[in-house]
Amino acid sequence: MGISFANPALAWGALAAAIPVLVHLLQRRRPKPVPFAAIELVRRSQQRNVRRLRLRRLLLLAARTAILLCVPLALARPHFTTSESVAAAPRGPAATAIVVDASLSMTWKDGRRSLFDRARDDAREALASLGADEPVTVVICDGTPPRPDAPSFDRVAARRLLDSAEPSFLKADLGACATAAAHALGESPVAGKRLVVATDLTSGAWNLDAPPPTVPTESGEVRPEATILDASRGEALPNVAIVDLAVGQAPEIGPRAQSFTATLRNFGDTPLKDAPLELWVGEELVAKGFVDVEARGAASKRLVHRFSKGGAYTGRVRLAADALAADDERAFAIQVPRDLRALVVDGSPSSLRYRDEAFFVDTALRVAGATPVTATTVDAETFPDQEFSDYDLLLLLNVRAPSKEVAARIGHFVEGGGGLFVSVGDQVDADAYGAAFGDLLPRPLHLVKTAAEPHRDDQRPARFADLDLSHPILGVFSTGAQGFEAARTWRYFLLQPGSTGRVLASFDDGAPALVEGARGAGRVLLYTSTVDRDWSDWPIQTSFLPTMQQAAAYLSRTLEDRRQRVAVVGDVFELDEAAGLVATGPDGRDRAIEEGRVTGLDRPGLYTVIAAEGGADRSFAVTLDPAESDTRKVDAREVAAWLGGDRGQVESSPGSRSHGESPLWSLLAAVAVVAFAAEGLLIRKP
């Protein structure tokens, strides 16, 4: 322990404290002699007051001494150094790297000052405390790859870098920054190596399993002397964040209804009660709910909204702002599916509805689903009269092979982006289909295979096998494909061998059941059996309806639209639409688009892709990395030990002292004021 002075010269003024003592002594030696007759009365008075007088005289002496001692000492700005800070005190000149955590969690704000403001002040003080012979480099750890300069004596540049630094929305890797800073220290010839890290010590920024930073020197790798400046001052950092937002369909509400399920996490020790959660679409508040989140727990809240029409929408889900406001809001950009128009061609009509070829398909499409479908059913004779461009989707259900002219129109329709679904049956002739459609189908039909006679229980029908659940159509069955296992198929078309098309489902003998193909901008799906109960009972299984609805959406390219257009801060966003010119961020600044990738996503919010002439602008949302919302802290001593081994230390309250030392000047000033007042009282009161 010891005391150091910011202005040592002024401390000499403390010698003035000897003045009252000298005055006191001189007064004792040279009082004015006065002959006095009533000296006996004086003596008696003195005896009466002797204790009080002695105490008062001592107090007066002490007060005057304190004034003259404390004032110059206070002006000299002394600091009391503890044993801990003495250990941290430089044992000699050291090249110093100051790393400032500028990650999202540093925007945590208690009152007007954020953790980053504190950390920057700590860093400034650390910079100011360096000796003239100590080079320094400053590393702002904001999530971008750290590229620290070699330590130099350019204090102005270091100071300017600190002044211009701003916290980012990126996830920072303090370990990587410390490692880079340690490497930079190796470029300095000064023997001492010191690492100062100003951070909030949130757990997301530290990976203590990584190798600790070392400084390369001529004598090998050495551990730097490390100091953690805790911007959180050892306090907990409570935070509630929206860590995820899932947007899905809400068919129970109606067509075009969307659900927004926000996942909230409470990283504090206090439970959150009845916190309002708002859903904003554009600038309109459309739904609001209340949510409870246990301390250190998580909760989900689902808000729904029915959109009046399809199209692109943007908005945000918002929680009441807390100390870390950036993660209390999450933006979204979604495409609400437009209404589909489907032309259903019934190749085998029947007066009995349930025996009609189109009955099950028509029913499946008309059931209110995520994508509203308007189905028009015609028979095979009249469908060539239809204008295909009026529809998004064409379904040929057990239809005899059309003429080449009609097939060409169909091919043109598909190439233009239309969807085509083809199912077979007794009306389908493989050769005629081959001649009419050519390569429009994913694979040419070959011949009909009868696995068993229909509805004969003594024979084994074919069953679905090898479902490609990764395909968007079958992705809805990713949690279980029970509806497929029960389906029995007695008869189906075999396809000619080949590798074209993507097989979504096969029968248990390996024959393809569902095959996807593509033509131009359009998509084609071939089902090798019937969609009525003639060859298969799949239409009455539970898997049939969602498969048809998904297929309709997929073929008409609206399934992809259901996905959120979202990216994480710091990542890139890949555009699937025609290349845009530029992407404008929430800060109004443009980001470049190169090869369909938007980069420079440095802040959360909505980005608008400005399309080329004739195209429509589209938006996408950028969200925060949930890891930065996690304000739980790591053990500071572990971090210090990881950084510097036995030369690592933590300062939990660097802001309250100067350079790791406790200021004494304010205390001295207070003592001087008190002494001044006491002296005045003692003088006034005899």
Binding site: I39, S45, L53, R56
Partner: protein
């Protein structure tokens, strides 16, 4: 103008006690506008039946011729006062706080003034100087020729030695065998037990006692600010202290002393007069004379 001349500060500039006393008395008498000399008389007062021991020359032979009895004439001058002026001339009386008179000078002037008044009334005036007991003595005489001797003795008087009121009181009591008026001029800084009470005992011996308690304004007000080394005037040990720190208690002490003396005198029927040495003489004497007339 005369009143101004009675200011002790002006009187202090007059060189001698005689001059000061004369200035005081003349100023006083001019202010009174009446003669104080009516007390001097040798006129017949009354007859007394002769008794052995009476002087034969005072026998009234005319009365003997008429009534055939011896009567002795009694005259007023036989009832005149025998006054003792007991002046304390201890070292403490030499104290002078400001630029006025010292207590001793004030006492000398006051005593001389009284002596002059008394002698002019044909009263016999004696002088006793109390200094370490009684240093000097002039027996009471009523003639005007006695006054210069008193003045001369007072003029020569200088303060010195300790105050011993008890010894002085005993000494005066021994000489004032008959009823006498005893005037004491002292600062009464005799802190031996019973010293003031011994003065009161003079009254119990049928004497008429008046105590002029003389104190300097500095002794009454203690107007010291800076650190002071107080040196005793009668050999006491010196004291170094900050006067402001004890002023309050000092004033209490001096007040208590005055009250105690005053109470002692009152109990013993002794006239007590607290005299500040910056107080004009005329007022003091007028007050004293007025009180005597009422008595």
């Amino acid at each position: 103008m005369a009143a101004n001349l009675l200011d002790p500060k002006l009187l202090a500039k007059l060189g001698t006690t005689q001059l000061r006393a004369r200035a005081v008395v003349e100023g006083l008498l001019s202010g009174l506008h009446r003669s104080p000399h009516q007390g001097q008389s040798v006129e017949f007062s009354e007859h007394k039946l002769y008794a052995p021991g009476d002087e034969l020359r005072h026998i009234d032979w005319k009365a003997f011729g008429k009534v055939d009895r011896y009567y002795v004439k009694q005259f007023e001058h036989e009832t005149n006062l025998r006054a003792f002026l007991l002046v304390d001339a201890s070292a403490s009386m030499s104290y002078r706080g400001g630029d006025g008179l010292s207590k001793l000078d004030y006492a000398k002037t006051l005593a001389a003034s009284l002596a002059y008044l008394l002698v002019r009334q044909q009263d016999a005036v004696g002088l006793a100087i109390a200094s370490d007991g009684v240093g000097s003595y002039l027996p009471p005489r009523a003639s005007m020729g006695h006054f210069p001797a008193i003045l001369s003795r007072l003029e020569e008087l200088e303060g010195g030695g300790p105050t011993d009121l008890a010894a002085a009181a005993d000494w005066v009591a021994e000489r004032a065998r008959r009823r006498a008026a005893i005037f004491v001029f002292s600062d009464l800084f005799d802190f031996q037990p019973g010293a003031v009470e011994r003065l009161a005992d003079l009254r119990r011996m049928k004497n008429e006692v008046t105590v002029f308690h003389l104190l300097d304004p500095h002794e009454l007000e203690f107007p010291f600010d800076d650190a002071v080394r107080f040196e005793g005037m009668e050999g006491e040990e010196a004291l170094e202290l900050d006067p402001r720190s004890i002023r309050e208690s000092y004033l209490e002490e001096i007040g208590a002393l005055c009250e105690r003396v005053k109470a002692t005198c009152r109990d013993a029927d002794v006239e007590y007069e607290l005299v500040r040495t910056d107080a004009p003489f005329d007022r003091l004497l007028l007050r004293w004379l007025g009180r005597r007339e009422r008595a």
